[in-house]
Amino acid sequence: MLLKAEVFRSRNVKILLLAGLLALTFVLFSAGRVLAQDPQPPTDDQVNAVAKELYCPVCENIPLDVCPTQACAQWRELIRLKLSQGWSADEIRTYFAQQYGDRVLAMPPLQGFNWVFYALLGVFLVLAVVVYLRVVRTLRHKTASTQNVTTPAIDPAKDEYLKRVEEELQRREKGS
């Protein structure tokens, strides 16, 4: 009888534990769902952080974050909408490039013909460094060579011209 009561109590504890776990799972899922349905709306700063890397083709050379036209305002609202839907900045940039072309991007993507420009930039940089180092080395070499050229020491006693000047000065002093 005692054993039966023990088994019954143990079963009750198990049922309670299971119910507790189920309740906890339900609460966690519900909380998650509430968070997903009611996210914080993106701030202007968040929208502008994405917008400043985009350019509207209608107003050339003006970044989207400071562009005053209605078209740009609509684009910014679209960024806000995409951010609120959980899109990342990269995904939004890709979307804009797909919709309006690569020219809306501040940085052309590293693909296709764009590679040429990036490669050329690198090559010109390397060439510039090579030329700069060469010039610096040549100039240093020349400076060192110039410093090594020493003027010969003049001994007044041996110099004929100085000797004559000295004699002339002495003669004039005696004369006066």
Partner: protein, 190 residues
């Protein structure tokens, strides 16, 4: 050596001489390649728009409803290609006239109206279409390919393509009346 320092030209010559030949050749090769790229870019930029009488190259678009449309689908018909945007105030001035004209010509099945939505956002574009009750096919200008092909200078702009696929009429700015549109199209349907 003293001569080199006193004479900068002599110094520059010696620096130039000190550069390896391959560096100079490489520099020139890349400089020429760079100039060629700039040339290609300039040529592309300065290439004129499609002129009247010229055959319009093939283009395709997918409407907001998801239906693909190709220019070649409308061979033998007059195509009215209208570039617009929801943010463009003058576009709204002609929206009603274009829709009226479309409804006028639709039963005859000789004229097709196509709207190309230029650098617009889809929610606003759909609101615009609903507001003006526009029923002819409209599509976003993906990657601005069609507008670049026609080298539009702004919106609204309307291009009329004849039955042979040649550009016959260009209107920059909004149509002011249904009569203005009819005058252009009736002339082609004679």
């Amino acid at each position: 050596m003293e001569l080199d320092i006193e004479n900068p030209q002599e110094e520059q010559t010696s620096i130039r001489r000190s550069l390896p030949r391959w560096v100079i050749i490489l520099a020139f090769v890349f400089l020429l390649a760079f100039l060629a790229l700039i040339g290609i870019g300039l040529r592309r930029v300065q290439a004129g728009p499609i002129v009247i009488g010229q055959k319009v190259p093939e283009f395709s678009m997918v409407t907001f409803e998801g239906q693909p449309k190709n220019l070649s689908d409308f061979k033998g018909k007059v195509v009215v290609l209208n570039f617009w945007a929801s943010w463009c105030a003058p576009c709204s001035q002609e929206a009603a006239e274009l829709e009226q004209a479309w409804r006028y010509y639709q039963p005859g099945d000789q004229v097709v109206f196509l709207g190309v939505d230029y650098t617009d956002t889809e929610p606003e574009a759909l609101t615009y279409l609903a507001k003006y009750d526009i029923t002819y096919p409209n599509a976003p200008d993906l990657r601005t390919r069609i507008s670049q092909m026609f080298r539009i200078t702004g919106v609204p702009e309307t291009y009329v393509i004849d039955q042979e696929g040649k550009l016959t009429y260009v209107k920059k700015g909004p149509f002011t009346s249904l009569g203005e549109i009819q005058a252009v199209l009736d002339n082609l349907l004679k």
